[in-house]
Symmetry: D3
Subunit: 242 residues, 6 copies
Amino acid sequence: MTEFARTGGRAADQLRPVRITRGFTVHAEGSVLIEFGQTRVLCTASVEEKVPPHKKGSGEGWVTAEYGMLPRATHTRSSREAAKGKQTGRTQEIQRLIGRSMRAVFDLKRLGERTIHLDCDVLQADGGTRTAAITGAFVAAQDAVGKLLAEGKLATTPIVQPVAAVSVGIVEGTPLLDLEYVEDSACDTDMNVVMTGAGHFVEVQGTAEGAAFTRAEMDQLLQLADKGIQELIALQLAALAG
Amino acid sequence: MTEFARTGGRAADQLRPVRITRGFTVHAEGSVLIEFGQTRVLCTASVEEKVPPHKKGSGEGWVTAEYGMLPRATHTRSSREAAKGKQTGRTQEIQRLIGRSMRAVFDLKRLGERTIHLDCDVLQADGGTRTAAITGAFVAAQDAVGKLLAEGKLATTPIVQPVAAVSVGIVEGTPLLDLEYVEDSACDTDMNVVMTGAGHFVEVQGTAEGAAFTRAEMDQLLQLADKGIQELIALQLAALAG
Amino acid sequence: MTEFARTGGRAADQLRPVRITRGFTVHAEGSVLIEFGQTRVLCTASVEEKVPPHKKGSGEGWVTAEYGMLPRATHTRSSREAAKGKQTGRTQEIQRLIGRSMRAVFDLKRLGERTIHLDCDVLQADGGTRTAAITGAFVAAQDAVGKLLAEGKLATTPIVQPVAAVSVGIVEGTPLLDLEYVEDSACDTDMNVVMTGAGHFVEVQGTAEGAAFTRAEMDQLLQLADKGIQELIALQLAALAG
Amino acid sequence: MTEFARTGGRAADQLRPVRITRGFTVHAEGSVLIEFGQTRVLCTASVEEKVPPHKKGSGEGWVTAEYGMLPRATHTRSSREAAKGKQTGRTQEIQRLIGRSMRAVFDLKRLGERTIHLDCDVLQADGGTRTAAITGAFVAAQDAVGKLLAEGKLATTPIVQPVAAVSVGIVEGTPLLDLEYVEDSACDTDMNVVMTGAGHFVEVQGTAEGAAFTRAEMDQLLQLADKGIQELIALQLAALAG
Amino acid sequence: MTEFARTGGRAADQLRPVRITRGFTVHAEGSVLIEFGQTRVLCTASVEEKVPPHKKGSGEGWVTAEYGMLPRATHTRSSREAAKGKQTGRTQEIQRLIGRSMRAVFDLKRLGERTIHLDCDVLQADGGTRTAAITGAFVAAQDAVGKLLAEGKLATTPIVQPVAAVSVGIVEGTPLLDLEYVEDSACDTDMNVVMTGAGHFVEVQGTAEGAAFTRAEMDQLLQLADKGIQELIALQLAALAG
Amino acid sequence: MTEFARTGGRAADQLRPVRITRGFTVHAEGSVLIEFGQTRVLCTASVEEKVPPHKKGSGEGWVTAEYGMLPRATHTRSSREAAKGKQTGRTQEIQRLIGRSMRAVFDLKRLGERTIHLDCDVLQADGGTRTAAITGAFVAAQDAVGKLLAEGKLATTPIVQPVAAVSVGIVEGTPLLDLEYVEDSACDTDMNVVMTGAGHFVEVQGTAEGAAFTRAEMDQLLQLADKGIQELIALQLAALAG
């Protein structure tokens, strides 16, 4: 279907090899290393028995995310946000996206007045860090919730359904699933799609990097994303069953 | 088509009254007050005869945007970003969106080594400030370019085509065009769409605030957006012809 | 009386055309656009039903001000304070001046434990932005107080008397009232005067930009300021009666 | 003339004991400890052989000032600005005032392309720190210039005339010269006056802390200030002759 | 020799199991995961072909380090420095220590005008993160230098000798080598020692957390450190030979 | 014993002239100017009747320190930390060291729920500012505690024993006590030692600036430090007896 040659002969509609390692670090309630090919993101879920001010006394919990990238996760070293004293707009955009995506599958009432912090730190970047982060954060959150259930702090799970994310894009006229860095840099259109296990959209963020894209192209991209996310959710469930 | 009663009996697929006032302030190369109903954004275009470091020596220009909201543009006063010492994640997300949208219709080579700064400041907010900002910024940019052409600093326009934006969303099951604040607060799905005069997409940002949305709903929303943006582009051109 | 030719043949002791538009925006308890010629400042008054820590439990209220300038309010674009992450010394100096000036005519006991925030944002600058801000903020504050009285939250007004401000200066040897930008840049002495309706001083801030000024010159400037402020207070009252 | 009893039986128009110690520290080109009674400010002048960007290539020099207060210079400890990560509005206001006052007596052309930094650090505060700072900074600047002359880096002095400052105010109806802290806290009107050796005004900053003040009161205050500044300038010259 | 029971029956003078994994990530010129028991630090070395301002034109290079800890590297989540907008004093202290330690074994002249950035990021913390960081950073630096040699950018290595670090401390009267977190929390005296391959000291930082320590205790600790560091340097060399 | 010629013929194991002036400023509960030769540090102790959050309700007090240097305390002016908006790593390192050193001789339980803030501000620097600061801060703390005892707020002193600090180093092969600036710049090894009146170590911080140092050198340095600190403690006690 594609003329654009992908690394390792990958098909246009094929995900990179995905690896999900639970319990990657020992302290967090959930700790998952997720790999989309060369992209590696450590996602931890931390449970805190209190909520931010806007939720105090509401009977509801909160789920929030932070995102970071180690300075040399990338081809050339980028400066450390902590040293510069502020997070870039890109970082803030991504962590807001992860937070919204996770809350979309949480019933905050059932969570009770506690917070789940999802920290997504990119150890190595090769495109798709935000979609890997969302996909991995879900597994970490699931583990943290599992622990709360096991400890009897929760009677029923507040997680309503799975959520995962993938990037899609058009490179040299070919719609591709799960872009790696060289594809991402070359693409005309870049779209990040977040979907639930039921196949519904949580977020769609499409950007024309080069030429604006047509409705027909958008339809192709959404279809690719749908295929990829179904596969990712199967991989999440397999990892959680493991 | 809708059961949800909109302010002033507005139809589900109807824009709010749009007003575009050019030359709203005197110093900027382009200065436009744009009103989407009660939402009022002042968009100025400032030409600077130099480029940021990453464009130096490239022969290309740069187009960038900043966004702000006066503290009492909203129903209750929000704190002043300058006083707090930082811009919120929301502000950064919006100004990055405006910048990308404008660059999508600029040929940076033809602009030459100069920068156009678009400042979009919300004087009064009632939903849709970012889409009004994009729509107004285009007119301001056009005026700034017109001035460069008139002064002989540019031989041909670097603007390739018009660009405009609108929000769409689903409120109580009804897809609506150009959400005002009460609708935005109540909606399940919120989507901001940026399109060119040719009817192609520059940005699509859809978010499920409540339930995740289906492909069919997405299709309805994109169709509404398409209708709205065609009308907005006609209004931009009329204002520029005026 | 003067040899220095002012814009539009204005006399040395003449104010620029002053326009006061109440209800310029809809959300704030008081919202005034004040124009001193080409200088335009939007002054909003926001009522908050609590006080800062140093007033808690005192039975007294608080009145405070913030000042800002849109990046392209000026001839050349200045950088956005929110983006730089801090307010300049000039901004802080001005907002402290506005705050003190407003508190000078407020009986904070009668205000009760609430705060009035005055936001003065310069949409267009042509000299005298701080004096326009004080003059406009008084009208906005009056409107906010009027609303509190109408709602029965206050039984009697906490505003003791009107307050207004004007700049005066010596340009090429001629004392001038209400300097516009080109005069301000050229002047040797620049003085901002804040006075009450009773003709008493709230603030006098005179600065020798070039040569130091004599006592005789100071007397001339104070007399000019007195004349201008009487006229401004008449204009405030007329606007409030309107 | 006064009914208000001052510390140590001081007359209403009497300065506190003033002590000026040159060479208080060893590294700076000028280093002066100035004491107005219990107020003690260390003023150093540092010469730097370059100018800030806005003066580059102008052939002119620059004179600038910074102001600080040690955390326990005051009755109760105030937090350290360096630890909080920003200077207060008050600090910025004061250092801008000192800088303008010093530049008023400098011929920047004759200074050549170099900068004199005046650092005024309050070791102990008892009212009048900014006026002591200006008065002391002049002596430190004079010493630094003396060194440049001695080294042959300057042929003629860029200092045109002396400058000094004093506070005046009305306490319980009595106009007082050189307010100490308890007077400053109790006063209705507080005025800081900066004057040259020729008896002309460089800055007049009067503020009604309580009731607004009349023209007659202002005249009394300016007269007191004039008397005090003449005495301070005599003390500066005596110290420099010493 | 000890009465204090260590995890896994470890002897008082025994290191935790140390693992050094080279090439842990793919982009950096050197990338080492170092593990001291449960403590895991990712150390990357990045070569940049320029030097900081203070080394420009000196013909010398620079070696510098930054340190960070993922929010959930620890037992309870700590807040993200990038989000708070500043690095803690502890972080700065540690990264300065790492930088000095590495420069102690570099001949900066032989490095030429380039910079090696060492980023030490703690993925999991269980005591001794700074000593693991130094020990791992040396291996990463060695790999980066190896690459420069292989590419012909360097003719001879600028690394003079190996360097490693270990913590020692007194817990309940017993001197222990290589403290893990529970020991570190319980210790009276905590000492971090950095030594070269030649057995000389680069840094000794001893702190009495509880009672002050005697000269005899210090001697015992230094001896333990010496033993540990000899073993660590053997492990570094083995890893580099691997 | 030494071949390196020290200023004023000082012996290698000799302290500079030390002067301790109590009551240097009037407001603080303890205020000490300490001079180690040309190094002069003002140390104030401020008592606050509350504790930081981590000590609330613990029944224990807190002792903390802050450190600063006036911009022109040094040979060339360094920029003001308050103006730059952050403290350097060096400043934070030093103030943490001072705080730990002081807490080492305080029984926080006996202090009760109050805080002693020690502010150490360098008026003039000539090497050894941190050790002078610790030595002076102890005297200021003692004075503050004396005041609390005199006022009956404390029944018994929370100070367990004296503490003082000194620097030692090896310059051109010679171990020297109490380095002044030129020695500090030239030294191969620099060590700061903090000891109690009982002759035990609170902190030992040794750094090889040039060549790494041997165990034998370290022993020599520790012996020198021991001698110097015994003398400093005698001087503290003499000053407190005065």
